[in-house]
Structures are given as C-alpha cells and as structure tokens.
C-alpha cells in the first residue's frame, strides 16, 4: 500500500472517530442498551471483509473457509443485531 493511500485511510479513521464521539455523547441514558445493540450490528460491517475473503480463489482453500466462517458469524451479528434493536425500540413508548 502506498503512503498516500494509507494517509487517506488514517484521515477517514480520525474524522469518523471524532464524529462518533460527537454523536454518541448526546445519547440519553434511556437509549444506551438499544444504542449498544444497534452499534453492535454496525460493527458487523466486517461482513464486507468476509465477503471479499470468501471470494478469494487462491491456492489455499484455507483462506476461503476462514472467509466463509467469518461470513456466517458477521451475518448473525448484523441480522440479529438489527432485529433485536428494533424489537427493543418498538417497546419504548410515551403515554
């Protein structure tokens, strides 16, 4: 990877982290659990990495199998995370 490409990635990392800090520090404590399970689902974005890894048709089948394992786990993380967050948020009602 070239240095300039690396610098761009670091820019993205720093700015997105800063944005994350700004956004989350305003979340009221009432929503902390759904926030956590919702962000948990977002961390399943590694599914994108898993898809790419499962697709590699190299010499070794090991890399592909690792990718497929990652894919199953990340899918559980994504789907389960969003569904349970929705289930919780559905219950938050004001009368």
């Amino acid at each position: 990877m070239s240095i300039s490409a690396l610098i761009v990635l670091i820019y993205v990392l720093v700015l997105a982290s800063y944005l994350g800090f700004e956004l989350i520090s305003k979340v009221p404590p009432t929503l902390h659990t759904p926030l956590m399970s919702g962000s948990n689902a977002i961390s399943g974005i590694t599914i994108v990495g898993a898809l790419i890894a499962s697709n590699e048709l190299g010499f070794t089948t090991l890399s592909k199998w690792l990718g497929l394992v990652a894919l199953v786990l990340a899918t559980i993380n994504v789907v389960g995370g969003y569904v349970v967050t929705d289930r919780m948020l559905k219950m938050f009602k004001k009368k």
Partner: protein
C-alpha cells in the same frame, strides 16, 4: 477501483452516521436503526456485485445460515437476557474480523508474498489481536452473565505479570513475522496469545462491573472491523468500525464515572477481594422488617413514590408486577416515578429496556442527576433489587470502598422500603448502612411474589 461500488460504500457510510444520530433521540430511534440497516444492506449488495459467480453458492449458503440463526435468536431472546446476547454477538463480530485478518494473511502468504507489506502485515496483526481478544473476552463475559461461570472475579497470583508477559510475547512474535512473513508458525503463536489474553483479561472482572466490560468489548469489536478496513483498503469498514469504536469508548467512560472508578481499576479487577480486607468492620446492622399488608398500607397513604430498580428486579422478573403496582398507585393519584442509576443492571440502560418491556412510559424513568434532589420531599422510596447504588456510605464513610461513587439519595425520603431476597451483602461486599436507618424497612422475599401480594392487598383496599 470500481466507481459504482465506491459510491455505494459512501452512501452506506452516510446512512450509518445518520442512523446513529437518530438512535440518540427517543422519538426517532427506531427510524435510525432502520436507516443504518439500509446502509448495511447497500454495502452488502455492492460487495456482492464484485464477486465471482463461482463462489456465489457457498456465499449464499453462509449468509442464509447466519440470517436464520440471527433472526431466530433475536426474536426469541428475553429482554432480561439482552446483556448476554450483546456479549455473544460482540464475540461473533470479533471472531469474524479475526478470521478475515487470518484469511487475508493465508491467501497472500501462499500466493503473493510481496503484497504483504508493512502496512498490510500490521493491520493483519492488529485485527488478530483485537479480534481474538474481543472473541474470547466476550465469550467469558457471556458465560459469566449467563451464570454458566461464577460471576465472582477470578484472580490468581502473578495475573497481571502473566498478561504483561503475553503482551510482550505478542510484540516479540510480531517482530519475527515482520522479519519473515512466510513463517506461519509465528502467526499461529500470535493467534494463541490473543485468544488467551481475551480470557485472562475478563476473568478477574466481577459481575457488577459487566456494564463497563460490555461497553469496552463493544468498542473493541468496532476497532477490529476498522483493522480489517486497513487490510482491505476499504473506507466503509473504517467509517463503521470507528463509529462503533467511539461509541463503545464513550459508554465505557460513562459507566466508569458512575462507579467512581478508573478504567484501569475495573480492568485490573478483583474488586471484591480487595474490599474484604480493606473494608471497615462497622457494628452489626439491626434492621426492621415489614410485612406485605403494612407495605400496601404505606403505599396507600403516600402521595409520592419513587422506585429504585436494580439487577435483582431483572433476576426476579418483577418488572411486570411493578407496573401493576404503578397502576394501583396512579388510581390513587400518587406521583409514581422511577429513579435510574447509570450502572443499575448488567449493561448501560438495562433497566430502561426492562421497564419499557413492562409497558411503562419512558417519561416515568428519571436519571439520577434529575431526581436526586426530589428524594427529600418524597413519601416513600421502594428499592427493588438494588443495593450499592443506594448505600449512603458512598457519601458519608471515607473508609468504605464505594466512597465517592455517585448514589441515589434514597435514604433522604420519609420512608424507604427495601425488597430483598435475604440479608446478603451487595456486590461490593459492604454492609449497606441504609438498611439500619430509622426510616428504612425491609420487605424480605422474592420480589415478584411479595410485590404481587402487595398489589392484591391494594386491590382489596380500594
């Protein structure tokens, strides 16, 4: 670079940001979750477009298996078990990032060793370390929360030294990998160390510190995803990963502040043990018991009530009968509210979810700082399954291990009733001074059963 895919990733990143923004507002939170799910869907579809048709079958099966299991588990899980589920899913996310890192290493070391440059190798090592620690750490947290392993801190002599040695060994083996990237043995050593470190860092942490641990592991799972973004040179992974990483860190800080402890103090663990020797042995506390009928009468004659829920309420599944109690009180025009301590329960916001499940309006749930001044003009405080968060020793006794922790001023109310299974100590292993106070009455027994009886007494009165 395929421009279409890159644009799709950009859109997905923006949707994650908007989704998280909405998740912070009670009214829009559900919409926010949907927006972020749409972002995820776009990112997945875009990635599928650049795949070989050859592997589509395997990929389809993997996604199907994951989806079915994910939906099944998410629909079935009880609201009291949400901390367990979050811990488990954190672990899955960590393991996925770990596997992606390892997979990338295997592929490149077998096909194109030259492409394993310093940046790539570093990212692989970071994703193995953080992903591995997240995985085994979350599994231990899950087993502790689920009661399959004792929630007590597990400590042994030289524990911290061992962790330090392992960390140094990781650095050492990493250097060897840099020198000769083709040596798979070193990578396997690194894998073993990172998995072991996850177990060792979570076992010394006690059950009541779980809100901190879960928040921290949540943050790690984001950072692990971020590391895979560096491996694959992929921006959407980095954006989403760092949003989650930041969110977990903020929640960790909030939890630590609410316990008046530093993160180091929580992570080094063994809180219970140090207390046993350092705690002040005060005089034996003499408590006054109260029965179900008298409790009902006290509720009947009060004009304002504050309920302080704790983890014990979740264990007893008492949230639904507390709603019935609330209905009885509201019939009598009693001002009925809940005081929520930030670390009540086993994860941030745990009490709010349980009470929402019992159909209690969220504007009845008041945060500590907003309600603490109201206790002194409240007739009756009802403590259900909470202990340390209402122990006045945190304010008054500098000898106490929990001194300085922000607490709910329940003791300032005219009368306090504590629903408790038995006279056991709180998590911190300290006597609760409150129980001996003149205005405090103990209602012993299973919270669900005793409150059910109180409610039926109240129904008869009216």
């Amino acid at each position: 670079m395929n421009i279409g895919i890159e644009i799709a990733y950009l859109v997905a990143s923006v949707l994650f940001i908007i989704g998280i923004k909405y998740l912070g507002k009670t009214k829009d939170a559900r919409k926010g979750n949907v927006i972020s799910a749409v972002g995820m869907f776009i990112a997945i579809v875009a990635t599928l477009f650049m795949l070989d048709v050859l592997t589509l079958l395997e990929i389809g099966i993997a996604i199907l298996v994951g989806t079915v299991f994910g939906i099944y588990y998410a629909q079935k899980v009880a609201m009291t078990k949400i901390p367990e589920m979050v811990a488990l899913f954190n672990g899955f996310g960590g393991l996925a990032s770990f596997a992606v890192g390892l997979s990338d290493y295997y592929l490149k070391s077998a096909t194109n060793l030259a492409s394993l440059d310093a940046v790539n190798l570093t990212s692989v090592l970071v994703s193995i370390l953080i992903g591995g620690v997240t995985f085994t750490g979350s599994m231990v947290a899950y087993l502790k929360l689920d009661g399959k392993v004792s929630g007590q801190p597990i400590t042994f002599k030289g524990q911290h030294l061992l962790n330090l040695v392992l960390l140094l060994a990781f650095v050492g083996a990493s250097v060897l990998v840099f020198i000769d990237p083709s040596q798979v043995t070193f990578i396997l050593v690194l894998v073993a160390i990172s998995l072991l470190l996850g177990v060792l860092t979570v076992i010394p942490i006690g059950g009541a510190d779980m809100p901190v641990v879960i928040s921290l592991l949540n943050s790690y799972s984001g950072m692990a995803a971020c590391a895979t973004g560096f491996i694959l040179n992929n921006n959407v992974l980095i954006v989403a990963g760092s949003l989650v990483g930041a969110s977990g860190i903020i929640l960790t800080q909030i939890m630590c502040k609410a316990m008046n402890r530093s993160l180091t103090n929580v992570l080094l663990g063994g809180f219970g043990q140090t207390v046993a020797t350092g705690g002040a042995d005060g005089p034996e506390i003499v408590v006054k018991e109260i029965g179900v009928e008298e409790t009902a009468m006290l509720f009947d004659s009060a004009s304002s009530v504050i309920v302080v829920p704790g983890y014990g309420m979740a264990v007893a599944q008492a949230q639904h009968v507390i709603r019935e109690l609330m209905e009885q009180c509201e019939k009598r025009n009693i001002n009925f509210r809940f005081a929520i301590h930030p670390v009540a329960g086993r994860m941030p916001g745990h009490m709010n979810v349980l009470l929402a499940e019992a159909n209690i309006s969220y504007d009845k749930l008041i945060e500590m700082d907003d309600i603490n001044d109201d206790f002194s003009n409240t007739d009756l405080v009802f403590v259900v399954g909470a202990n340390d968060v209402v122990n006045p020793a945190a304010r008054t006794n500098p000898q106490s291990p929990i001194f300085g922790m922000p607490i709910l001023n329940a003791d300032k109310a005219r009368t306090v009733i504590v629903s408790k299974r038995s006279m056991g100590k709180g998590y911190a292993g300290v006597e609760n001074e409150l129980f001996g106070y003149a205005n405090c009455l103990m209602l012993f027994g299973d919270a669900k059963q005793t409150i059910t009886k109180v409610v039926s007494e109240m129904k008869e009165m009216s």
